[in-house]
Symmetry: D2
C-alpha cells in the first residue's frame, strides 16, 4: 500500500536550516531551545542542542519539531552549562535519519568540538573521498563532518586555527557555529550566501540565522556578520574577528535573495535589512511590471501575504482573504488513490467562496517550483466561481537547482526550466501569469548594497560546483 | 518547579468540540479522519472515531490532535465498516483524560450504541444523581454518558425511541451523533445552540459541525439541521426527520453567536450562513460604531483577520500585517520565572517593527476574556514604536460564563464583568478601546433570521441553568 | 503472515490471578508493588494497584508484568495513601485488554469502591443479563463488575452490607479484596476454592494469595481465611469477621488441589499448608504407584523440580539436571513454517546431552493438558540418546475444564478426556507413562483436613455451572 | 531520591558478550535472532543484528534484551539478506549507551564492514591515542572501533588482509566476527581466551560463542576455533583458515576457565568440551577437598545447580531445593531506605522453610565476588532455622580483576583480595567456608588439554596489561 506523506506533496521549496548559539548565559540550553523555537520555520526535520559547562559537553537531538524533541523541562535537564549551540534541520527524504541530525559532536585528540551548519560545501565529496583513501572513517553523510575531519587532520594546536585551516580548504555556502568547552565560534563563507547575526544581552553573546530569535529573547541585535568573517568568543571575553580567507568586499557577495522572497520570517532582519519591507516592495514592483485588470488581490497564506499586500497597495485593488490555511497540516497521511481531487492541497487550503465568487482575482504567490500545487489551487479557486484568475509571482522563474543549501528538485522538475511563461500559464490554468523580472527584483528599493546570488533564476553560479556529478546534500 | 504549559496562558476562549458522521461510505473511517482533520480547530485535546460494519463496532481514541491519534494508515486499519462517527474534544484541564474522550461506546442490553456530543446538558448532574441513587454506575464524568444511561433505562425497544425518550428528559445545548450497527442518528437541541449540517455524496450521507469538512471531502452541503430536529438514517435508506420535543420556531432559537465571532472557520457555513461574510460585516459595524483617527489597521492573526479587513475597508485605512504568528506554538513549555517579559505571548506573536514604528495603529481583536494577552500584545506593539494604539473588539464585552458548551473562565476572571470599558482600556494600556455593541452586532446584515444567545454578553440565559451550584462540564 | 506468540504454544495450564491488599502502612503502594512482584507467577497479562489516602482513590493499571507497568519510582508517585489493593491478571487471549484489567474502580452514589478478584462467578452471565434488562450499563466483560453492580443496586447503606448482599446472590469461586477510602475488606467463597491469607506487620494488616508475598515483606503470617469468611478492617481498627452466607464446615470445602500441584510457589503456604512439602510427597506417592526400572530421574524445570526430587528419593534413583530452561522466553515470536522441529519447545528448553545419552530416564512432569509439549520434549530427549523414557505425571489425568478461575482449554482439547493412558503414551512417544491416581493424590500425607475440588480429574463439579452454555471467563 | 536498580545490587560477575554469525542462509536475520536468543545469558544490556544481501548492509540495534530490541516480525523485516552477524552486549554501567552497542558498522573507502566482538583489547587505548594524534576521529568508546580504524589505515586492499594487519597490532582477548557484503570472517586471539565455535546446516555456515545456539537451530556443530585462527567464508565457498599471528600451540592457550565455572550454559560446549560435565566434576572435586558433616546440599539456583548436584553425589548427601528463584527479577527498582532487610536479595530468592529448618545445610555457590549477596543469603537461610551452614564455593578465591572481557569490580572490592578465608567466613556468617583450590580445579578430569587463564585467582596475567593506567572496557 502506497502512502504519501502530505508534506512531500506540497510543492514548496524546502526551507534552509536554522542555527543558534549563546555563550555566557546561566541557562544556555533553555535560551537555545527558545531560539530554535523562533527559527522553527527554517527546518522541521530534526532539532538538537549541545551545551557545555566548561568541562563536559551535553547533547540532545531528535527527529521532528523542537517541541517534540524537547517536550518538557526534563528534556533540558541534562543540558547544563553556560554556552550552547542548536540546530533545526531540513533535508531531503533520503537522508532523513538521526545520525545526520545536528549539531554534530566530535571527540578529538585535543578535546570535544561541536558544529552546527547552515549551507552546503560544494567540494565536500572530493575532500571526503580523498580523506577516506587516507584511512579516515566517516559516520554521517553530511558535509559538516568533512569540516570536522579537516580540523582533526589540520596539524594545528588551537581550535580557531583548526577551523581556519578547514575553511581555507572548503568551498561553498556556510554559516557555521562551533562550540568547545570554553569557546563559541561563528563563521560565514566569503560570498556571504547564508545569513548570520550577532546579538548581546547582559554578559551573554548570541548568534542566530535571523533576528526573530533575538526578538523573542529580548536580545539586543548588534550586527550581521561580514562576508568571510569568523568571530571567536572565549567565555568571559569580548568577540574577536578573523578573516581566514582574507577580507571580502560586500560587492562581491552572493547573498541568497530567496531569504527575502521566502525563507526568512517577515519580522526578521537578514543581511542587515528588514525582510517585511523588501518583501512588500517586491510585491509593489510586481504590480508595476504585471498589473492586472481585476477586482481583488488574494495571497497564498502565509508566505505570500506581505507581497500580496504590496501588490494590492500599488495596484489600488482591495486585499482579500480568499484562502484559509489549515495550520494542523503537519502530520497528515493519505493515499493517492483517494477519490477526492487535489486532496493534498485541500488539506492545507480551503477557498472562501463568498470572497471569490464572480470576481476577477489576482492571486499572488512567492515562487513556483514544480507548479503542481499552483495548478490545484487555481482549479479550486475557479471551482468556487472566480470569473478570471491572474497569477502573479513575486520572484523570477526558477530554472536551475541551488547547490548552496536549499533543497530544490532536479532541473528537469522545475517547470520554468523547460517551459516558457505561456506554457506554464496554460499548465496551471490561469488566465494570465506574470513573474517579477530579475532586473526589477534587484532594483527593489532598500535591498542591501551587496551582491546577490541569482543562480536559480539562470545567472552564473557564483562558486563553481566542484562535485557536480556527485549527489549533493545540504546541512 | 512550576511549569506552565503555554497554551493555558494564552487567554482565548476555548474552542467548542467538533463532530462528524457518515453512513453508506465504503471507507467510513478514512472519511471521518479527514472530516475531523478539517474540524481540528474546534478541539485539540482528544480525538476519536467509532465505526461499524453492520455487525461489530470498532473504536480508536486518544489524547492530542487527530494527526497524533491517527498517525498512519495502520491506525485506521481496524476501523472497518461503512458508517462512522468522530469527535474532536476540547475541555477544561481538570478533566483531561482518556476516559472522558469521545465518541463514547456503550454496550446495551439490546446492542451497541456510540455517541458524540458537542454542547452541554445543564441538568445532567441532577439526572445523574437521581440515577446513581437507583443503582446506575457511571464511568465517565461527561454529560454524554447521562444521555446513554437515560436511553438504557427508557423502556423503549428501538434506538430512535430510546433517544427520543432521553432528549425529552435533558435540557441544554447539544448537537449529537449516534451510531448503531445499522443506523446513524443526528439530533439538535430545541434552541439550536450549536451548529450541525447535513451533506451527501453518491450514496453516502454526512453530518458535520461546519461545512469546511464537506469542502475537503467534496461532499454536497444539503442544509443545516432545524431546531429540535432529529434525523434517523438507516443504512441504504433516506434520512427521516423527527421532532422529539415538538417543532420549534426559528425565532425562538438561541444560536451561539460566538460561532460567527470566533469558533467557526471563516470558510465554513454555520446556521445556514457564511461565517466569513458575517465576520467581515461585524468588522465594518465596529468601524462605524468606533472609528479611529489612525494610520493603519492590523489584526491579531489569524482569528481577527477577517474582522480587521472589514474594519479597514469601512474606515478606508490601510490593512497591514503588524504581527507575525508562530504556528508551531502547540507544544511549548516554559517556566514563569524566565527573565523575559511577555514570553508566553512572544512565543506566539512577534511584531513587525517596520510596519508599526511611528504609526497610529488600530488593533482589531475578536474578543477579550481576561485581557492578560491583550495587555501584553499592546505593550509589545508600543515597544516597537507605535505612536498611538486604538484597540477595537469585534464583539461586546463578555460578562458572564457560558453554560452551553464553551469553556469560559469563572465570572470573577472575566475582565468585563467587574470593570467598565475605561478601566479595561487602562489595564490593557491602549489609547482607546471600543467594543461592538450587542445591538450593532445583532443588526449586522446577513445574519440568519433566527434568535441568538447573547447570555455571555449579559442577556438572560435562554435555558435555565438547573445545576448551577454543581461544577459544569462540557462535551 | 501467521505469527504465533510462543507463550501460547507452550502447553501449560494458565495460571490463576494473584491479589494483594494492605491497610495501615505509610507507603501502601510500594508495599503492594512488592507484593505483586512476589505473586507475579500467578498472572502476567496485566497488573494494577489502587490506593487511598482516606479521601480520594488513585489508580494505575497496565498490560504486562508488574515491572513493565511500574517501571520506576515515578510510576508509584501518584499512588499516595495508607491502604491499597493490587492484582496480577491472567486471562484468555480473547479478552486481553486494558479495560478488563484489575483492580476495578467504581464511583458509586455513596463513594468509591475498588475490587480485585481471583476466581470465577458461575452465575455472573445470568445476573448480568437480568441487570442489563433493567437498564444497567456494564463497561467490562469481567464478572467482578457484576459484583459491583449488585452492590450498587443492593439498597444497603454501608459497603460491608452491600458486599454481603452481593455475595448472597453470586455463586462460584472467589477470593476478593475491596478497598474504600477507609476500609479494606476481604472475602472468600463458602467452598474455599481459591487461597487467601492474612498477615500483620507493625500496625498494618495484609492479605495475599500466597505467603511468599509476606516472606518478601517480612510480614508475619497470621492465618488463612476460613470458607465463606469476610474480614472487614477499618483504618486503625482490628479485623472483624463476618459470614454473609453462614459458617461453613472445612469438610464441605472444595479447595483447588492444583494450587499444590502447580500454581502456588513451592516456598508458599496455601490452605494453611506448605506447598513444597505436599508437592514432594506427591512425587513420592507417584514413585510408589508407578516405579520405573531406570538410571536417572529428571524434571521439567522449574515447575516439576520438587515432585521429581520426591520421586527420585522414594525410588532411590539419582536426580539429574537433564533439561535447561531459558528464562528469557517471555517475549519471543516465531513463524510456524520455520524449518526447525519443535522450535517453540526448543526456545524454552534444551537437553543436556551428557546427562541423558545412553540412560534409561524417568521424566517427571506436574500435569498434562494437550500433550503437545510433552510429545516434543520426549522427542528431544530421545534425539540426544536416551535409551528408555518413562514419563511420570504428579497428578491425575485432566478430563474436564475448570469453571472456577483456571484457564483450561475446552474438553475436546484435553488429551486425557478422549484417550486412555496407553493412547496418550503412544501419542507422546514415551516407553511408559504413569499418572498419580486421584485416590493416591488425596492420601498424600500432610494435606489439609479439608475437602478438595477434583472436578478437572472427572469428579462432580462442587458448585453447579449455572451459565454453562455461556462463554465462561475468569478473574 | 536515590533509587538503585536491583540488578546492580546482586553481586555476580557480569556476563561476557555473546556473538553469532551466519552466511548462506535464506533468512539470515531470523536465524541470527534465534541465535542471539539462545545466547541471551551472555549479555542483556543491548542487542543488535547487521545483515547483508550482497549489496547493501542493514542494521538494527537497541538497548535491552533481544526480545525487546526485536519485539515482532516487523522488527526483522528490513534486515534482508543471506548473511548476518549479531551481538549481545554486557558492559559496565558508565558506558551503557546505544552508540557503543554492537555490531559496529563502518563505511570505509572500500565498502562497508561490520564487526562484533567478545573480549577486550588491552592495548586499545594506546593505539587509539596514537591514531587520534594522527587525525582519526572515533565515535564510540569501544575497542572494537580501534580495530576498524586500524583496518582503514592498513593500506591493504582486501578486507581479510586489512583484518590480518589489524590483528597483528592488537593484543588481548577477542572472538571477532566481521561481515562484508560477500564475506563472513571469524577470528580468535592467539591465546584462545574467549570461546568460538563453527557449525553447518545445509549450505549455510555458522559461528557462535556457545553450541547451545546451534542446538536451538539444529545446526551441526563442526568444531571450535583454534588459537589465533581466522576463518574467511566467501558466499558460496568453503571456509578457509589463516593464522595472522602464526600457528599457536594449545598448551600455550589461556582459555577463560570461568566459562566452565559460570558463564556458559550447562547445555553448551565451549573449548570443545561439555560445560555440564566439567561443572559437575568441579562440584565433586569440591566435595573431596572440603567435605562437610551435614544433612542436605542446596544450590543457589540456577547457576550453581550442577556443581551442587556434583557435590551432593560425591558426598552422598541428599540434594534439596532450599531456595526458590524469582525469574521476574529483571526490572525491579527499590529504594535502599526500605525497612526490609536484604530486600534486594529477597526479591531474587526466597527460602523454603520446610526444607531448611533444623538441618545442617551445605550451600554450594559457583563463586564469590564482593560477598554481599552471600552474606544476605546465609542470613536468610539461618533465619528460617538452619542448624549449621557450610558454604562451599566451586571455584578458587577471586583476588584480581579480569582485563580480558569480564566486567569484574576493582581489586579493592573483591573480598578475597584483602581477606583470608576465615575472615570471609566470618563476614558472610557461615559456620564453615571452603573454596575449590586452583590445583584441584585444574585437575578436574575431562578438562580440555589446553592452558587456562587463572589470573583472577592470583596467577600471572597471560597477556601484559599495556594500558593498565587507563580505564579498561569490554566488548
Amino acid at each position: 500500500m502506497i502512502v504519501i506523506l502530505i508534506h512531500f506533496m506540497i510543492d514548496n521549496l524546502k526551507h534552509a536550516c536554522g542555527i543558534f548559539g549563546v555563550i555566557g548565559s546561566p541557562n544556555a540550553a533553555k535560551t537555545t531551545y527558545l531560539g530554535l523555537y523562533a527559527l522553527q520555520h527554517r527546518g522541521q526535520e530534526s532539532a538538537g542542542i549541545i551545551t557545555t559547562d566548561g568541562k563536559a559537553m551535553f547533547e540532545r537531538k531528535g527527529l521532528g519539531l523542537v517541541g517534540k524533541v524537547f517536550p518538557d523541562e526534563d528534556s533540558l535537564k541534562n543540558l547544563s552549562g553556560f554556552a550552547a549551540i542548536g540546530h533545526n534541520r531540513y533535508s531531503t527524504t533520503g537522508s532523513t535519519n538521526l545520525v545526520n541530525s545536528q549539531p554534530l559532536l566530535i571527540r578529538f585528540f585535543g578535546g570535544d568540538v561541536a558544529a552546527a551548519h547552515n549551507g552546503n560545501i560544494v567540494n565536500a565529496q572530493s575532500i571526503r573521498k580523498e580523506m577516506e583513501g587516507n584511512g579516515s572513517i566517516f559516520r554521517t553523510t553530511t558535509d559538516t563532518e568533512v569540516i570536522l575531519h579537516l580540523m582533526a587532520r589540520s596539524g594545528q594546536s588551537t581550535v580557531p586555527d583548526m577551523i581556519s585551516y578547514a575553511l581555507q580548504r572548503i568551498q561553498g555556502a556556510y554559516s557555521l557555529l562551533f562550540l568547545t568547552p570554553n569557546m563559541l565560534i561563528a563563521a560565514k563563507d566569503p560570498r556571504s550566501i547564508r545569513p548570520l547575526v550577532l546579538g548581546r544581552k547582559d554578559n551573554a553573546w548570541f548568534f542566530a540565522s535571523e533576528t526573530c530569535a533575538f526578538d523573542l529573547l529580548e536580545v539586543e541585535y548588534i550586527r550581521c556578520l561580514e562576508p568571510g568573517e569568523m568571530i571567536v568568543i572565549r567565555n568571559g571575553e569580548e568577540p574577536e574577528s578573523r578573516y581566514p580567507c582574507g577580507k571580502q568586499s560586500l560587492k562581491n557577495s552572493a547573498g541568497c535573495i530567496f531569504e527575502f522572497i521566502y525563507f526568512a520570517r517577515p519580522d526578521s532582519e537578514v543581511f542587515c535589512t528588514a525582510v517585511d519591507k523588501i518583501r512588500r516592495r517586491m510585491g509593489r514592483q510586481l504590480a508595476r511590471e504585471h498589473p492586472a485588470d481585476a477586482d481583488i488581490v488574494i495571497s497564498i497564506p502565509d508566505s505570500s501575504n506581505t507581497a500580496a499586500l504590496g501588490y494590492a497597495r500599488e495596484s489600488r485593488l482591495p486585499f482579500e482573504i480568499g484562502l484559509i490555511r489549515n495550520h494542523y497540516i503537519g502530520r497528515t497521511f493519505i493515499q493517492p488513490e483517494q477519490q477526492i481531487r487535489e486532496l493534498s492541497v485541500r488539506l492545507k487550503f480551503n477557498t472562501v467562496k463568498g470572497v471569490i465568487k464572480g470576481k476577477r482575482v489576482v492571486v499572488v504567490d512567492d515562487s513556483i517550483v514544480r507548479a503542481t500545487t499552483s495548478r490545484q489551487l487555481i482549479r479550486m479557486i475557479r471551482d468556487v466561481g472566480a470569473k478570471e484568475i491572474h497569477l502573479r509571482i513575486a520572484s523570477p522563474p526558477i530554472v536551475n537547482p541551488c547547490f548552496y543549501g536549499v533543497d530544490t528538485p532536479e532541473k528537469s522538475q522545475l517547470i520554468a526550466s523547460g517551459n516558457c511563461v505561456n506554457e506554464i500559464r496554460d499548465f496551471i490554468g490561469a488566465d494570465s501569469l506574470g513573474y517579477l523580472s530579475i532586473k526589477a527584483m534587484l532594483q527593489t528599493s532598500g535591498l542591501p548594497k551587496m551582491g546577490f546570488c541569482t543562480a536559480c533564476f539562470g545567472s552564473d553560479y557564483p562558486i563553481p560546483i566542484t562535485d557536480r556529478g556527485l549527489k549533493y546534500k545540504m546541512g
